[in-house]
Amino acid sequence: MAKTATPRNTHIVGIDLGTTNSALATIGVQAEEGARSNVPALPQLVNAGEIGELALLPSFLYVPADIDFPAGSLALPWNSSPPLVVGELARKRGAENPVRLVASAKSWLSYAGVDRTSEILPWQSPPEVVKVSPVEASSTYLQYLRDAWNHVENAQGSPANLADQDIVLTIPASFDEEARRLTLRAAEQAGFDRVTLLEEPQAAFYAWIESQGERWRDLVKVGDLVLVCDVGGGTTDFSLITVSEEQGELVLRRAAVGDHLLLGGDNMDLALARVLQQRLESNGQRIDQWQLHELRYRCRHAKEALFGDASLASQSVTVRGKGTRLVGGTMKAELTRDDLQAVLVDGFFPIVERDAMPARQRRVGFQELGLPYAADAAVTRHLARFLAEQSRQSDVGGAIRRGSSGLACPTHVLFNGGVMKATPLRARVLEVINRWIRAEGFNALDSTHVLEAHDPDLAVARGAAYYGKARHGRGVRIRAGAPRTYYIGIESAMPSVPGMPAPLKALCVVPFGMEEGTRAEIPGREFGLVVGEPAEFRFLSSTTRKQDHIGDLVEDWGDEIQESSPLEVTLPSDEGRDEVRPVRLEANVTEVGALELWCVSRDGTGRWTLEFNIRAPQAAPKP
């Protein structure tokens, strides 16, 4: 591409690549300090043959058949015949024809149970449907955002290419290393080469800082502990951020992240729809799957209306008749405030004790293969476990306020995600936290301890743009570092027992909180690598073991450490000689937040990177 006289990276762009909605916020590289980010309306097909502009891009992808839409009706201003439909029309049409719809691509991207680079989506659709991989699907959304933004900029007479801008791409804090790497790959496939990753709860916190201006320094103080409670359409994510002081400056550190939970607003809408379905069917009416979908959509609106206006006692929900019989087939039910209380507040956010544990994953002999949805729908139980897990850790990420039992006791709560817009749900979360922290010997939190960011739908994208600006030295930064502790698996040298794998030890290679832009050598251990053929390392990680230091060997970890896909390295052989080369391991957390592991030869003449071996995990070996 020819170089132009003006710099091509004129913007810093925050992209929230969400499970159900994506958004984009930009801020000029030259913008003044304190300037707000700009959220452009994104042109997209809203019906066949009709382009509309929406602030959010629904993260849905529809694979159209030739006979799906009238000829020419999928044309976009920048592409007369796109092969895939993205956005609002994909969401709408996908509800009518689910076998061609790719939804929740992001959840698939973080699910190690499938090969995330192979063409598996739409999940379990018939062979005649063209498939894409979770990485390609994510990349398609990014490419769409790129083309749409470029179109808008061009139309405004300031041509620019999104791929040339400084991009901050957000991911759930609970994304493991591989999901992060795959997200970067998706960005690479969209042509983005200046990408930094940022965790969503941190982005939400930045959005809060942006919305407060300099006032934020008066609202939190040294020793505070902020819980970011992010419940979106498809996922729930918790993080803890500590406030400390260094050289007279307030320093923010992300001290803990929770596990990846596939639990969110979609589950809640479905639960309400099921309640009304039962009510209608007990009157002798029948609801089919299409009407259930409509019911779910209408329950969401009724829920938002009831949560938005405390004076309403109930909202009527109608399901329209099928066929041309509109009036005759119309069914009507009332969604009452008591329903919301019973199903959402008490069902999804029950009052539980601080030692509550979520129910374990079902162990049914035959499970339908698919996304690993959280087995326990109670957000508060997951929160209890998250805060209790912090009792065992060292203060790598800054001082955490703990109670008598070791439970992490937040001093502030920042709510994020569409679900947490609802006042009764926020109140419930606060009520439950207060119950716990009073028992731990602290004062209860009130509304002054709830940090309010405006516009939760766009907070993550805006916060990401703010962070991008902060990286350029204009604004505050949260110190984050590695969100997990990472290990290499080492098989014990023991006599083998038939049918039993050799016991595994875990060598800590990246400690929790290892900062971006630093590297470290794993001391005291060398590996013999065979040249000319791939050597495999088993790779493990933990969100809870923060006490392990680099080089520590862990033997017994219960369920605190999980195994990920193996790592692989192939050393080139010199003229076909067979040899084993001694290497040391080196860990490197890059500036963009990616983890790299290197093999360095003893004599220092060679360095090879360990690559994630992204194949589908192999089935358990047969005895």
Binding site: A71, T324, V327, G328, T330, M331
Partner: protein, 188 residues
């Protein structure tokens, strides 16, 4: 017979213009295959699944196409045409009310989205207004004691409605222009 006709038109179009005209292509694309297999006789097809006539059907002119489009949008979002064509005499008011409340909300949204509705005469209903000479009778209807003498004073009974901005999407192509609601067929 239909295929023969299209084949001839394609042939002459290619012969004289070097390409097949968009009009013929649109018709070709718009042809709907019957639900039966080709070897089955058309009589075996259930009623209503035969391909609609294409070239023979009179195509509406542009003005009527826009009117049909507006109806199609109100039908798509609010099922307005279903409502008007349904015999509702047998249903009680509660049943009609449930359907209408829903339809009202949807159609209202459609109108707001595609049109900007403005009053013809600014001012509150029930308040006095003056009609100046030179007004266009198509915009204001005078009732009561209309002598023909202007300016005339009166009371605004209905402020009227005028379409300000109209933001209708592009018209669909071919025979779909006459469609108010596409038929729905669930494939099992």
């Amino acid at each position: 017979m239909m295929r023969l006709s299209i084949a001839f038109r394609c042939f002459f179009s290619l012969l004289f213009t070097g390409k097949i005209s968009e009009k013929i292509l649109a018709e070709l694309r718009a042809r709907v295959r019957p639900a039966t297999h080709p070897e089955e006789t058309p009589e075996a097809a259930p009623a209503g699944t035969r391909p609609p006539a294409t070239a023979a059907a009179p195509r509406p002119h542009d003005g009527t196409e826009r009117a049909i489009q507006m109806l199609a949008l109100l039908q798509r979002d609010g099922r307005l045409v279903d409502f008007f064509t349904e015999d509702i005499t047998a249903y009680d008011d509660a049943q009609v009310g449930a359907a209408v409340r829903d339809m009202h909300e949807s159609c209202r949204g459609t109108l707001q989205h595609y049109l900007t509705l403005e009053p013809v005469v600014a001012g509150e209903e029930g308040q006095p207004v003056t009609i100046e000479p030179g007004f266009e009778p198509g915009t204001i209807k005078l009732i009561g004691n209309v002598t023909g003498k202007l300016p005339a004073r009166g009371v605004l009974r209905h402020h009227g409605w005028r379409a300000g901005q109209v933001r209708l999407p592009d018209l669909p192509s071919g025979i779909a222009r006459a469609v108010i609601a596409p038929a729905e067929v669930e494939i099992s």
